[in-house]
């Protein structure tokens, strides 16, 4: 699913998002980087219509009416709301809403079992650790297999092994289903490992948007240059 954004404005007490034009390419993994408070999450939530925009237009495959495309979009929020039921029930809830029968649900879940050790499936999801909760939240949206997947720091609470498996999962979803994936991350290396395209945001604006290789080898914006230099030095 292609996303085209035009004149997007979001204000609270001050403007937190101000994007003139942005095209998120269909079938690609796009990473959104940026400092804290740069508007990454707000952008993601505006695309998912979780937050109302003050001005501007968002087109989903050329369609502006969100109601017509809402069932084609799934979002994993930074602090997902985990329902007070088993982890498995959390994961399959969306599939039940879609009317899938038990056999199809089991078949769908099986596809995702190779990525994680899912010993916790029958535990109450509210009792899970941060990493397990993140896995539930991610699987809950991944199993829906919708054309657009928005992920807000999906690996923030995960250990290294789970992080790598999550990245594999994201890549596989993108390749197998041609899913458009937009991922917000603070991890430059994760962006490097995962993304086809990279967006860098600062103060609500997109200050750099390029192919991954170009972004890391030849950035145009001074702030991005500075951050990448600092990251190289730390290596």
């Amino acid at each position: 699913m292609n996303i085209y954004i035009e004149g997007l404005l979001k204000r609270y007490e001050k403007t937190v998002l101000n994007i003139e034009k942005l095209n998120i390419e269909s079938g690609k993994v796009t990473a959104i980087l940026g400092l804290n408070g740069s508007g990454k999450t707000t952008l993601l939530e505006c695309i998912a219509n979780i937050k109302n925009k003050d001005e501007g237009k968002i087109y989903y495959d050329g369609i502006e009416d969100f109601e017509r495309v809402k069932n084609k979009i799934a979002i994993m929020q930074q602090r997902p709301y985990i329902l007070n039921m088993s982890a498995l029930d959390n994961i399959v809830l969306g599939l039940k809403y879609e009317g899938l029968d038990e056999k199809s649900i089991n078949k769908r879940i099986e596809k995702y079992k190779e990525y994680y050790n899912l010993d916790f499936l029958h535990k109450n999801a509210k009792k899970l650790s941060g990493g397990e909760t993140a896995k539930v939240a991610l699987l809950r949206v991944a199993v829906l297999e919708r054309p657009l997947l928005l992920l807000d720091e999906p690996t923030a609470n995960m250990d290294i092994e789970s992080t790598l498996m999550t990245e594999k999962l994201i890549k596989d979803i993108n390749k197998k289903n041609k899913t458009t994936i937009v991922i917000v991350t603070h991890d430059l290396f994760q962006a490097q490992r995962l993304a086809d395209l990279v967006i860098f945001m600062d103060k609500g604006k997109v200050i750099e948007y390029s192919l991954k290789d170009e972004f890391f080898s030849n950035p145009k914006n001074d702030l991005v240059k500075k951050i990448l230099r600092r990251s190289d030095k730390n290596d």
């Binding site: 998912a48 809402k70 069932n71 709301y81 007070n84 879609e98």
Partner: protein, 216 residues
């Protein structure tokens, strides 16, 4: 035998009032929790201030409503259990409503968005919020029932404390105390306390435990 009748009438009136008030609080509560409109905060503040409504004032209002010259006077409802249920319902509705809205408010929007994002519809959201916020709802209902069963002013005014018909435990205690029959008053007082305790314990058990309650 008289005391048994009093206990039954008390439970009938208070449980019915709590049930009706809870039903309407749930219906209005869901509307308030899921819709954004201009005067929403004002309405919630208004209902919040109604929680402090003195029972005798509510009794007076219902009395005026049902008395011969009142708008519903022709139905002869004054000094009946119906009048008592009406007064208690109006008295506990704001309590259940505001407690419910305030406690659920912090999660309602997140549950709604999660449900809709997963492809759920309004009925799915309602099912989900009832399950997710069962504890908060039961807490509000328990508070409402406690207020109803212990209330004396309004039921005395609109029920008339008629022996064998509208006499409830609280009005019995008030009457017997004024007559100097402390033994009877204390006995019914203990029964009232026990019933409150049992009903609250049942409601508390219906709430279930928070999943993380005993982790630490």
């Amino acid at each position: 035998m008289e005391i048994l009748k009093i206990v039954i009438t008390s439970l009938y009136v208070s449980l019915t009032a709590t049930f009706i008030a809870s039903f309407f609080a749930l219906v209005f509560g869901m509307f308030f929790l899921t819709k954004q409109f201009k005067l929403k905060d004002l309405f919630i503040k208004l209902f919040d201030s109604f929680t402090a409504m003195p029972p005798v004032l509510m009794g007076l209002l219902v009395f005026l409503l049902l008395s011969k010259n009142g708008p519903l006077g022709k139905y002869n409802l004054l000094f009946t259990p119906f009048a008592m249920i009406l007064a208690q319902t109006l008295l506990v509705f704001p309590i259940i409503f505001t407690l419910m809205v305030k406690q659920i408010d912090k999660n309602a929007l997140r549950i709604q968005k999660t449900c809709y994002m997963l492809g759920g519809r309004y009925k799915d959201f309602l099912t989900l919020i009832l399950k997710e916020c069962k504890n908060e709802i039961m807490t509000a209902v328990t508070s409402g029932f406690s207020r109803a069963i212990s209330e004396v002013g309004a039921v005395m005014m609109v029920g008339g404390n008629i022996k064998g018909y509208t006499r409830v435990m609280t009005t019995f205690i008030a009457l017997e105390t004024s007559k100097g029959n402390f033994k009877g008053a204390v006995l019914v007082g203990v029964i009232l306390l026990c019933i409150s305790f049992i009903v609250n314990a049942i409601l508390y058990n219906l709430k279930g435990r928070e999943p993380n309650e005993y982790l630490y």
